[in-house]
Symmetry: C2
Amino acid sequence: MSFYDKKFTLGVLGGGQLGRMLIQDAISINLRVSVLDPDENAPCKEIAHEFVQGDFKDYDTVMNFGRDKDLITIEIEHVSIEALKDLKEMGVKVYPQPEVLEVIQDKGLQKQFYTDNDIPTAPYKLIDGRDEITRNSDFLPCMQKMRKGGYDGKGVTPVRSLEDLSTAFDAPSVMEKMVDFEKEISVIVARNPKGQVRAYPVVELEFNPKANLVEFLFCPAQISNDIEARAEQIAIDVANAFQVVGLLAVEMFLTKEGEILVNEVAPRPHNSGHQSIEGNYTSQFAQHLRAILDLPLGDTGIIRPTVMLNLLGEENHTGAADYTGLEDVMAMDGVYLHLYGKSDTKSYRKMGHVTVMREDAKEAHRIAENVKTRLKVRSK
Amino acid sequence: MSFYDKKFTLGVLGGGQLGRMLIQDAISINLRVSVLDPDENAPCKEIAHEFVQGDFKDYDTVMNFGRDKDLITIEIEHVSIEALKDLKEMGVKVYPQPEVLEVIQDKGLQKQFYTDNDIPTAPYKLIDGRDEITRNSDFLPCMQKMRKGGYDGKGVTPVRSLEDLSTAFDAPSVMEKMVDFEKEISVIVARNPKGQVRAYPVVELEFNPKANLVEFLFCPAQISNDIEARAEQIAIDVANAFQVVGLLAVEMFLTKEGEILVNEVAPRPHNSGHQSIEGNYTSQFAQHLRAILDLPLGDTGIIRPTVMLNLLGEENHTGAADYTGLEDVMAMDGVYLHLYGKSDTKSYRKMGHVTVMREDAKEAHRIAENVKTRLKVRSK
């Protein structure tokens, strides 16, 4: 059965903004999408062809959701791997593969995977709880990352010295040597079941230090051709090591010495690829669909320089969302608004993003800074 | 209430491909869309926030559909004008305005409007039926256009001499002097309630002679700067004469003598703007939403040269649609597929379109010709 057939259905675990943007591209190829999410107000709720309310971490829920689907994918990693494994056993196609998700879901296994596959990454130690930080104080300063359940800047905290112990997690985690990086960069790689691989050009990320979330993205990254080529090759190596099908977003540190270290990966569309909707020949969402449907991968080339700005809920604003400055921003040429359909805002919640595309990268940057000043999400 | 509010709903009369692509852009601005269409398998059926099955030509159906909407628009002209007028009277915003639709819906009134407003158009006569063609034989060769109900190449027929009388329509129609044109061109103009107007660059259309439907579109058009400027000005003049809110697609003939004549207009997103999804800074669908929501209009500039190809059902194929060559076409770089979600094909039915975007316009044309050879829609 072909993907454009009315009876063919793609099941997506997770109904947030990534699923929403995936559906926007699925419409263009007649692909029917069914979404599973616990939130009855999930961003995909009203636009999915079918929406099922339920917990994607629950074995039975995922089994029931998945058994009649032709293909399953995810837009969040924290799902029932056991159910996905059993669905795969039953003959349902599951991309990314549950075995890949299993490694990535656990930041300890993920680090071990890099070591085993000669992928450059920062030195680390695996610990079971807070007391082990004291015993490994020679390893400080470090970033402590919970092995499981972290998401969107949560589950990660700096431990610069033992004085930070009170804010450290008392849970199985990775202690990762703090990297004195020059830039954070990312490469999104697509790989289909035939093994065809295409990488997007490197983008540069600027984080909001308070929220530990991407705030600005610059495409192309301001780096040398040599670094561009090395970063792309490392990202392709990681995708091939996993033999992943679908997208793999590879976040990397570029150190002051010019070393490139893999920070972490996500086997799905990713915040570091949102600029591709307008700025690259193939959007990451269309590319993810091509990859999991075993179609030829699209051109990843840059059409025009872009700057992407995440639209984060203002600090200390919780409740029904109100946007100020929308009209100001829409009056600026080459500015693309993407709202995620979340009715409630909270501090630093990702409520949308804005992409600025101009022929001149510096002008795009200036406009994006201007957008940041004007556009605010507050509670009513 | 703001357009992004969950309680704000845009009602769209018509649920075909234009509505479908409008919804794809509405998602990006959190705009809730409710669609009215008589076909239970309409392209918008499964992706609209709400779908109401019913006849948009029926007064009561449109009244019931429209009374709780915040804003009404159309994606087809042949709707109940009376209902739209009464809804407007009741305080529902209706764009394009019913008065504009009323003129455009009737090709006779439309021609009269051009004459009254000094808009250049081909000479014409209004007739009530076939016998009047005989009486006006000195006006041949002409195109006979039914005053009402024509759509997608239907309701239009050439009457070169009285020998063509048997295929002429016996209905109120316009006899329009046949124009010996060099090119058919189109300009889409957007106008918002504040009176802001922005025109898209001129595109060039190539028709399939058998189906009288657009087959290829070239953006930018291969015309002189002088013709570009004149065509744009005429299109803006027409939009201002109508004081239309929303898009107005103005199709024009460029004669061999360099004269520009308005052929006909459509107050909505139009086939001659499909390339704008990828090829212009603002897609025509996003622009239509901006215009009817009284938001600032977006940049209409060209990002890259594009060629659009309509994907028409193969002649004499009727029934469940099957696509051949999809993978071949998806393997070509810079090629964008848009399938309209129609399960059944028939001769020359618009089943989708393909846009080719390359830096080099000639290369885009070559690729589009290649796509036409490979990609076919047949019945199973």
